[in-house]
Symmetry: C2
Subunit: 196 residues, 2 copies
């Protein structure tokens, strides 16, 4: 089972790796093949729909992994504010580790293809929904109303994605760190107002 799927998954992994650094159109299939080390003939065998399918599955795979990771961290959280801060600082660490080259987000794909590929747009949208839902769920289990929980979840999702962009532009993880602190104090404030 390992050997059979390895070429396929190597292609997917290389795809996401390169796209998060260079974008969708900036990443060629030849480069993906070289980076993955996968045999060239295998690409259209596993992904008959070509690049679009390849990227679509990369979004799906990475997105699910991301959503699960987040959900796992949120699971045993007793302090929502603290745990959100932790997630942001973790992202900052990963970004730093890559020299600020790998953002770990779908923003590029969205911005490049949302007007030309419904398939990719929807794949990205599902991932945002999935992550956002995880946040919402946690806040609700901590006593927030559904409406309030959803609002905060949206703010988290958007500021996360936006902070990553600022970090790439600045070549520094500082924006993520800053937002981490900011959101923490905001969530604490929201908590204290939970009565109304």
């Amino acid at each position: 089972m390992e050997k059979t799927t390895s070429a396929r998954t190597r292609l997917i992994e290389a795809t996401f790796n390169l796209i998060e650094q260079q974008g969708y159109h900036g990443t060629g299939l030849n480069q993906i093949i070289k980076e993955s080390g996968a045999p060239k003939g295998s690409l259209y065998y596993y992904f008959p729909d070509g690049k679009e399918q390849l990227v679509s599955e990369a979004i799906e795979l990475y997105g699910q992994a991301l959503a699960e990771r987040i959900r796992g961290v949120l699971k045993n959280a007793d302090n929502p504010a603290e745990i959100i801060k932790l997630i942001f600082t973790n992202f900052a660490k990963k970004l730093d580790a890559s020299g600020c080259t790998k953002s770990g987000s779908f923003a590029t794909i969205v911005l490049e293809t949302s007007n030309t590929s419904e398939r990719l747009r929807k794949a990205c949208n599902r991932m945002y929904d999935s992550c956002s839902a995880s946040y919402t769920e946690m806040f609700m289990t901590h006593g927030f109303s559904e409406k309030r929980a959803t609002q905060i979840a949206t703010l988290i999702t958007t500021s996360m994605e936006g902070a990553i962009i600022l970090c790439r532009a600045k070549q520094s993880s500082e924006p993520l760190i800053q937002i981490a602190e900011e959101l923490k104090s905001y969530i604490n404030h929201a908590k204290s107002e939970m009565s109304n």
Copy 2:
């Protein structure tokens, strides 16, 4: 003066228009020429450094216009929370007017080129700094400490950029509207805590 610069500026305008819809690598020079209606031979006459220079100047031009627009709106603001909300809802309107195709942000360029072009990365970064500084300035004139003003400005800048991405993915301006409301109440809260 109008006729002489018209081909040049038409090229720049077409460039920004297309890039915000399709990204940097997704937009070809041929398409820019066609869209702009500018003579083909003029491109490398006005922009000897090619695509990079063309895009760089597009960022500069659009960025300055954006920063000025924001600064103008903030100038005669007596209610910071309300004016921030207004800016976000204005962005939402513009996005809706384009059928959610034109984001009016530099995120694509950052994500696609920050690892390969210092020139473009820095150009985008300058624009973020410029906008962020406008927000900071306003909050300071309304009594916020410099530190606090900067923090809130960063949250505004990041969540704006992130919200735009969510809107593109969702094909709806709803995230921008939601964040508009959320930030408004947040700023009001921050204002009430200004004493410490």
